[in-house]
């Protein structure tokens, strides 16, 4: 353990693999800070505000992981899957790129721009590929484009030693590393990006040397999750979601939550509101008091999707194409504040992180446990950005 921590501090990609193996080899609970900003009118913002917002909650992280998700940042490549990949070394990169070329049409690839920042030690090679599934491969697979891409992500993350896809959606991207989140944001030059939605995370793992891939957000396709908490339902959730082709290799709560949300929304067609009723379901005693129609629907969701109830403390921010969702566990065992100003929705672990970037708010509230807070792009904004 000590050797590996030292190795990571000293940097060196050769040791990166060792740390990666360690990260997934045990369950890793962590406390954290989260923050998010969303513009309903699709107004583009630089990444600077979200860095400042998460920075003020420095004390809630311990320097072992930080990260961001940004939506609407790649308008010139909006029809392509933006694959952000950590490669341990050149040989992993060569193997992964060979696979990518066989599977996708790659229209552009480059390293992700970074700048030297004290506090971010040398990590893996960080590459970005804009990709579209090859038509012949896609047709042969009998899958839709999204399922095809998701499986390719699993293929690389499980099958290629030393490469890890940490972002795979369209017109969005995840940026994460070992370090304090504000350092991570500056390392990735987040201020150079413009998006309509940003989420951020500062990690406080209890017993890990930290691995770049283990930082939040965790994502699959365009669904990203930043999460503060430690869920007690982890293994029940994991063993259920793994049935449906989501191997959980990182043993983190966030990974399993991201897969649950992807499964329920993309594969089962639940709305995000319905997903809240499944994952942070109201108590049976509350359901019993509902009007009949509503009661039946809630009962149905809780019964049919019972393996996906998440218990224990959590607050999460979920980013998805055209929207952001905030959700607390049903007892609200983690802090979460929401606020509005004009067309902007802010959600954060602490009010200070919102006030810092917008002191004059229209409304501030603490969503109750299980209350689903969702902001979506207005119709014309959606059309403009994704049409």
């Amino acid at each position: 353990m000590n050797n590996i921590s030292t190795a990571i501090k000293n940097g060196g990609t050769a040791k990166f693999a060792e740390a990666a193996a360690l990260e997934g080899s045990f369950r890793n609970p962590s406390g954290c800070a989260i923050s998010g900003i969303f513009s309903k009118t699709g107004k583009l913002m630089s990444g600077e505000s979200i860095i400042q917002s998460i920075e003020i909650m420095h004390e809630r992280s311990n320097g072992l992981g930080g990260g961001f998700a940004a939506y609407g940042i790649y308008p010139e490549h909006k029809s392509k899957y933006a694959l952000h990949i950590f490669h341990n070394d050149i040989s992993a990169k060569i193997e992964t790129e060979k696979y990518l070329e066989e599977t996708f049409e790659i229209s552009a690839s480059s390293t992700i721009p970074t700048q030297a920042v004290p506090g971010i030690d040398q990590g893996p090679l960080i590459w970005r590929y804009f990709a579209t599934p090859r038509r012949d491969k896609l047709r042969g697979s009998q899958q839709d484009e999204r399922e095809f891409t998701a499986r390719a992500v699993f293929h690389i993350n499980q099958g290629i030693d030393g490469s890890f896809v940490f972002s795979s959606g369209k017109n969005m991207g995840v940026f994460k590393a070992v370090g304090y989140p504000e350092d991570v944001g500056r390392f990735y030059r987040l201020s150079d990006y413009e998006g309509y939605c940003f989420t951020a995370h500062g990690r406080y793992p209890t017993n890990t040397p930290g691995w770049w891939g283990g930082a939040h957000p965790f994502s699959l396709l365009d669904t990203t999750v930043v999460h503060n908490g430690e869920i007690s339902s982890y293994d029940a959730n994991r063993r259920s979601i793994e049935m449906y082709g989501y191997p959980c290799t990182l043993q983190t709560d966030t990974e399993v939550i991201a897969y649950i949300i992807d499964y329920l929304s993309r594969r089962r067609g639940l709305t995000f509101e319905e997903i809240c009723r499944v994952t942070a379901a109201p108590f049976w005693s509350e359901i019993a008091k509902m009007p009949e129609d509503e009661r039946k629907e809630y009962e149905f969701l809780r019964t049919v999707f019972s393996p996906y109830l998440i218990t224990g403390p959590f607050s999460i921010l979920v980013g998805f194409t055209g929207g952001m969702m905030a959700l607390n566990d049903r007892l609200k065992l983690r802090s979460m504040v929401a606020a509005e100003k004009g067309d902007l929705l802010y959600c954060s672990s602490e009010e200070s992180a919102i006030r810092l970037i917008e002191p004059d708010l229209d409304r501030v509230w603490a969503p109750s446990g299980g209350e689903c807070v969702i902001a979506r792009l207005e119709k014309d904004a959606y059309k403009r950005i994704y049409g």
Partner: protein, 503 residues
């Protein structure tokens, strides 16, 4: 003494300083152990007749009695124990198959006792069930639904038929015949009050108990005793009994002396005849036949009731359960080798089957590996002794458990394991009216409800400690379990880590 003499297993010890010769023990013992010697003004006991049921001990007003295992034994021999020797004597004498009752009493590992639970510290708060809601409600039935939406996009909430349990514990199959009318009444009423279900076993449903149909699971076993249209329609669910943990591979046997007028009518068999159910169902010689019976029963009840298939835990239980999940059944019940029985051949009971802990873990894992765990609920049975066993079963992967022996203990059973003799002094495993009336259903049902209430509280405490406030978040949550003193193979079979291994 002759060759067939067998020294009594237990000795009745009477404290003559305390005994007042009230003769209560004499009146209460159906085995006629106690006798009053008028000339000596003294109670005596015939140890040979004693079954060690503690009835006399419990009712003695001056606490003058105790029953102790005898210290009389053969010359020490590791290979040939007293039991082995006496069983040879018995069989040499009778030429018969040895019969036993209740679960396997021999020394096999009890894995429940080698599994420990987790609790929250620091990073995750425990939840106090006295101050926060704590949910133990379980729905049993298939969950793999295709979602349908109405024109407005609203979900249309149609599910396969479900059984709603207020806690993940049901009373397992015990037939009217093997146990008494009053025992059945106690179970039926307790199920209603505790929000759970009891199971008729293969003995049919007495007409007086149709009113508890909403809490009744009716069994269809290989003998088809007592199965008719109204029986199926009254029930909340139907269970096809393919096997029983105490006697895998064989059918049931109710001795004719237990078949009085009421039992005869309920089972639809002639009075005084042995009720012998065949070893297999003679219309089920393979899985495709089971599927036909499952759907026959569903057709007969308009697809409104879940169908349970109960099997004994045998070596390839996981593959069998997987077949059952694909045969249209809504629930599979797995009965481990320590499960109880009213009567079973001793050799079968003591030597056939596998432990429920391992069987359950294997079934749950297999159903998940095949991606069909949501198609079926899993009920574990066979020596669930406490709320801790329930919690561990749920964390291994069970949706709920069945309890038989624990329920009978609540009704007064003292585990003397002589149910097959039909002379149960506690009024449970008997049809003799004078004995049956000793079990007062008004008290019996209350004691069962108490047991369920107590277990529910304990389940809530343990869940709260783990930071879990709803039972479904515990189901299959094996990271909450750790083994102690188990080998690598045992840990692998149970799918859990050893104590000390972090998550």
């Amino acid at each position: 003494m002759s060759l067939n003499y067998i020294y009594p297993e237990s000795e009745v010890i009477r404290n003559y300083d305390k005994c007042i010769c009230c003769r209560a023990c004499e009146r209460q013992c159906a085995n006629e152990v106690h006798e009053y010697l008028e000339e000596a003004d003294k109670m005596i006991a015939d140890d040979a007749k004693c079954v060690d049921c503690h009835r006399c001990v419990s009712i003695c007003p001056v606490r003058a009695l105790k029953i102790v295992p005898t210290d009389h034994d053969f010359k020490k021999n590791t290979s040939w124990k007293k039991k082995d020797i006496y069983e040879v004597y018995k069989q040499a004498d009778s030429g018969g198959v040895l019969l036993s009752s209740m679960g396997n009493p021999n020394e096999f590992p009890v894995y429940w006792d080698k599994i420990l639970l987790n609790a929250s510290q620091v990073t995750n708060p425990s939840i106090d069930p006295l101050r926060e809601p704590m949910e133990t409600t379980v729905f049993l039935g298939a969950k793999a639904e295709e979602l349908t939406r109405g024109e407005n996009g609203k979900l249309i909430p149609i599910t396969s038929p479900q059984l709603k349990l207020d806690l993940p514990v049901m009373f397992s199959a015990m037939s009217y015949g093997s146990i008494s009318y009053n025992a059945h009444e106690s179970l039926a009423r307790a199920s209603q009050e505790a929000g759970t279900f009891y199971n008729t076993g293969e003995g049919g449903l007495h007409e007086d108990f149709y009113k508890y149909g909403g809490n009744t699971i009716v069994q269809v076993a290989s003998g088809r005793f007592g199965v008719h249209r109204e029986y199926l329609e009254t029930a909340a669910a139907i269970e096809i009994k393919m096997g029983q943990g105490a006697k895998p591979g064989i059918g049931g046997h109710l001795p004719g002396k237990k078949v009085g007028p009421d039992v005869s009518r309920t089972r639809m068999i002639p009075e005084g005849t042995d009720a012998i159910s065949p070893a297999p169902h003679h219309d089920i010689y393979s899985i495709e036949d089971l599927r036909q019976l499952v759907f026959s029963l569903k057709e007969a009840t308009a697809y409104k009731k879940p169908v349970i298939v109960k099997i004994a835990a045998v070596h390839n239980v996981a593959a069998i359960a997987s077949g059952i999940a694909r045969s249209g059944a809504d629930i599979v019940a797995i009965d481990g080798f320590r499960g109880g029985t009213g009567a079973a051949p001793t050799r079968i009971r003591d030597n056939v089957g596998i432990p429920i802990e391992v069987a359950l873990a294997q079934v749950d894992s297999r159903l998940r590996d095949e991606g069909i765990r949501d198609k079926i609920s899993v009920v574990a049975a066979g020596s669930i002794r406490s709320s801790a066993d329930v919690i561990k079963a749920v964390a291994l992967g069970a949706d709920a458990v069945y309890i038989g022996t624990s329920a009978l203990l609540a009704l007064g059973c003292h585990l003397c394991r002589t149910c097959n003799q039909g002379k149960c002094n506690w009024g449970i495993a008997t049809q003799r009216p004078d004995l049956v009336k000793r079990l007062n259903p008004d008290i019996g049902y209350k004691r069962l409800v108490n047991l369920m209430t107590a277990w529910k509280h304990e389940i809530e405490e343990m869940m709260g400690g783990m930071g879990i406030n709803s039972i479904e978040a515990l189901r299959g949550n094996r990271l909450m379990l750790r083994g102690v003193g188990l080998t690598d193979v045992e840990l692998r079979m149970l799918g859990i880590k050893h104590a000390g291994e972090s998550a």
